[in-house]
Symmetry: D2
Subunit: 357 residues, 4 copies
């Protein structure tokens, strides 16, 4: 994938701002096994002074790194920012002095307009001028820009899987522009803070319509897809929480344009994704896993995409699945990092996933 | 609900043909606690001679009834038929001699046309003349007919919740006729026979797109809704299996007709369901259970229905939930029985459901 | 069961102090369907003024009762107290003026010695004189006392199932006095307050050794069993939390006394429990449910008990299962109430449990 | 770990006999990412001719290997045998001609006596002379023998975690010889074949006492521990199946010998396991993961061990956790392979596990 030539032994210095959450933990896990990375600092106000493995028990025995206070950060080749939405925009201009390159895992720099940000996040954007500095991190759409950029904003997990599922279809004008995304979500997306909503007796076994309308990732999808169509996009998400910790599955209900055949769909996906190391078209005649299934993607950077034409009711159902914490967040960030620094793009992302699980 | 006046002490004699499966077991559980029912026989070829509680361990200590062979059936006031699809049509004319009234829990007599049956079930119907003898068991649409009928065919579980969610909207012309049902399904729907698909390591944790298109319950929904609209209905189901044993949630994506307001939706539901003992409109501003949630319906006969208007993308998302084995099968059958015999319609169906669960 | 003769239409006035938690909610559910109970008040400081169904969504449509402040309580035939451990002892003498009879679901009055309370709960007991007023609520051991008493303290859930499993064995001198209870626990036992421990991503899928030693219910077991043995009891609990919301299973590792046979075990259980409506001896040669299984007890008042002799290693493994919120708390309380007021002891507790679930 | 010096680029030729099951699939996953392995053949009668990823969907896109018939096997440096118990003993002498080294993942060659095999597996051993050729694969006890051996029999998963938990305690004479192992088991242990026992509606949510006494892995534990004690061992397992796909947790109830302190326990574990790459002593004062937890071990080769002394009841509770398919089977096999061929022992086993999961 990578075109830059680099010393394979080169190590870059990396820090994480906000490393006690789930995305931060996943990033630490991935970076620790990356041969070209020296993970030098991870911050957390809450866990400051404690071992990183006290927040991320899977790292026990693997690292003696301790969380530091954000003020203790020095300078790094790369800074990952994993803060709650609405926080990084307030310090981004300062952070840019700490690191040559920045990858933001939060929502603050994903959109290209302060107005859109305010419309969907219900707060003013405090650094609107910096928005255009950031490239959107879904690398399958922005590889060449990311390779040249210093600032990347990773896509939201739900947006990432939806965009990857839809992009070839919209680019090749295969579907109508009214699109309904029925998203099945997991509990790790809500983050680390216990609430009644995440309380096990209330959360176990649910099929909870937590956001039938109004999901904020709609904004990213519209922003990213608009360049590929001349018609206005009408994208709507209905999100349902399930009893699972990781993973997203989107069932996307679309209408194929007149005359579009299954072969056309195949052709578009192949053309766009043939050489993508982490996208698999999953569509088989039989077998339990003939469509994308998030459970076997846990820990992997894959985005699996499948589809089914409905000849009776003129429909095209597209199905996409990812691990929200890997391809949806930390893995996406690391794939972007590999691209920005000229490493082999798959480095550190080789995990194949478990079956059964 | 019931209008016939009956002796409250009256007991009817009841038998179940095919009682070792999950629907049969649920029916036995309900009938054992019904004050007007004497459950006299339950058949099973596989379990013949064994105690009913050997197949249904929750009944241990409650009944000493033993399964009998189907040939041992004598005559009863009411016979429930719980056989695999495609079986009861072959013996229905004989069964009609065994009982004054019959309630069929299977699919054979749900549709009103042999052609429709063949189209969706891919086999010829062997008793097409009897199809019109059966009233469709969704009582909220057919109460007066059921009260007078001797033969009832219960609705399919997925069809039942979809029909109940849609009926007031279609009857009152509030939505366009293109309707997408995104159904979240549980493992008990597949029945008692172990397969690789139901093997725990493969089935646990899934978000499995087992039928993105072509679900057979579409036929029932179209059949039942067509009388209420002058336009052709375009109904499509996408079904996803989750890691749950009981329950269905349908997320129905519809388009409100121009000018339709949230108040119109409320009014239609109230008008149709105000006096329905088992339908609750669940739509609140806050709270974890502000929309229908199948997990708290386990064991109950409720159908909970909610909705959300999307003003941005002109949409109406309707959400329906039931326990597939109760309101979706055995409870529906018992509610029909209560109606057919003039018992109070809620008798034996008072269980409120568990929370937390 | 009950020997007192009562007017079957008699209704008692009942209130619940502390009704927003899981035990309170379960009690409300049971009381609403009890023919001899008029549930007149339920208190909650947090939910005061709100509908009871806002905390207990399964009761939606069934009751319009609203939570009141504890100070608004008037006088009742019976008051249930469902407060956190260490709270009811501070107000019990006042509460005794509010109601002729009191059933306390908490731990404050379970033990018969202030010292034992302090040893296990690490706080002084503030009403030691009242401790002896309370009868321990495990009715199978205390039926005649409960029938005559005004004050009952329900057993802890883990203690209840362990005591019921062990009582016949100890009473009949069938086992040695060194007893190891390996308890498998569910999340509803921890109550309503969200913590990191109950946060779904952390709690889902766990096999968490949350208390390998030192479980407080040990005190109740020793207190209750001591009268039946002349030797000092050595009881130890190891508790492991599982990914389930309801239910307890105890695997009790004991040593049969020399010469004790399987028949002796059967005889002891039969002798003590033959007429008990809610105890079932579950021990079969085959079948998936040949030993007690908590999942099919959800919502029921059953305590299922089984056992297995190990001839190789001289062992008797006893297995007990209950629903911690029913037989372990609210159902036990209602069974006690039935006894105290001379109602049929099974009234309102007829639910058989669901299968599959 | 390894002492042999080898060419780091050396690749060995490897085949798997019986590769369609869960252990086989896990082994394929691990071998595909091993830099010194060329996986040349995987057999399966049932899947012969099909792609390996048709049985193991996580490998989709990673390998185009197809299953072959066992008869098509040629000669290899190493043959893994993953057959049902009782099968490999019938062909082992032939298999020994196919490969210089063999690692058997099944039970046939774990015990050192045909009589013990018959006692526990209820069939005669058909190759008793070969039993002594095999070294038991728990490398922490047999490293130097494995390094020199051509034939290794991996330990059973339940035996492996129990042996690793107990070994330092028995070797250092810290505990009495009566030992009770309360094992919490997962569904992948039962293998690939669907049964009613593994049928999702029956298996979901269970706390099933599937083997309260008589577990066959007892034989391995006694065989392996006997050399370290002069007293007869009395080991008993009670096994309970939970609703999880991977992982085992053992709660081992032991009695410390008089005078043994917590420090003695620590010292013994440190002395035996200090340099073990895959054993972690997990015992902290606080935190959700202060004891071993199988869920965060999924996919890893770790065996986490913790303990708690009970000063009141003279007890030592030892807690061990592994992923049954990795450290319990395929990972153990690969660690043994690394040792047998002089590779770095951790090669290919670096996965740290996921959190949250």
């Amino acid at each position: 994938m990578s075109t830059n030539s680099t010393d394979p032994m080169k190590k870059i210095s990396v820090a994480i701002l906000g490393g006690s959450g789930y995305a931060g933990g996943e990033l630490i896990r991935l970076l620790l096994n990356h041969p070209n990375v020296s993970l030098e600092a991870v911050t957390s106000r809450a866990y400051k002074g404690k071992f990183v493995y006290s927040a991320h028990p899977n790292l026990r025995g693997r690292t003696r790194l301790q969380f530091i206070d954000p003020h203790e950060l020095s300078k790094y080749d790369l800074l990952f920012v994993a803060l709650p939405n609405g926080v990084s925009m307030n310090t981004m201009s300062d952070l840019m002095k700490k690191a040559s390159k920045i990858i933001d895992l939060g929502a603050d720099f994903r959109l290209n307009s302060a107005q859109a940000f305010t419309d969907w996040y219900h707060m003013p954007h405090t650094a609107p001028k910096l928005m255009k500095e950031f490239i959107y991190g879904v690398i399958e759409l922005h590889r060449s820009e990311i390779a040249k950029s210093n600032y990347v904003a990773c896509g939201g997990c739900e947006a990432t899987v939806s965009i990857l599922s839809l992009y070839p279809l919209i680019k090749h004008s295969l579907i109508e522009t009214k699109i309904i995304i029925d998203a099945k979500m997991s509990s790790s997306q809500a983050g680390l803070v216990p609430t009644l909503s995440s309380h096990h007796p209330e959360r176990s076994g649910v099929v909870r319509s937590y956001m039938p309308t109004g999901h904020r990732h709609t904004a990213e999808i519209i922003t990213e897809m608009t360049p590929y169509t001349s018609e206005p996009l009408d994208v709507a998400i209905s999100a349902t929480s399930l009893d699972m910790v990781r993973g997203i599955l989107v069932t996307i209900h679309t209408t194929p344009r007149t005359g579009v055949s299954e072969k056309d769909i195949w052709r578009a996906y192949r053309e766009e994704y043939e050489n993508e190391p982490f996208i698999r078209i999953v569509k088989e005649r039989s077998g339990l896993y003939r469509y994308p299934e998030p459970k076997i993607l846990a820990g992997t950077n894959f985005c699996d995409i499948g589809f089914e034409m409905d000849t009776r009711s003129k429909r095209l159902v597209v199905i996409g699945a990812i691990d929200n914490l890997v391809k949806g967040t930390a893995g996406q960030a690391m794939q972007d990092m590999n691209c920005m620094f000229g490493f082999e793009e798959t480095t550190g992302l080789e995990f194949l996933g478990l079956h059964p699980i």
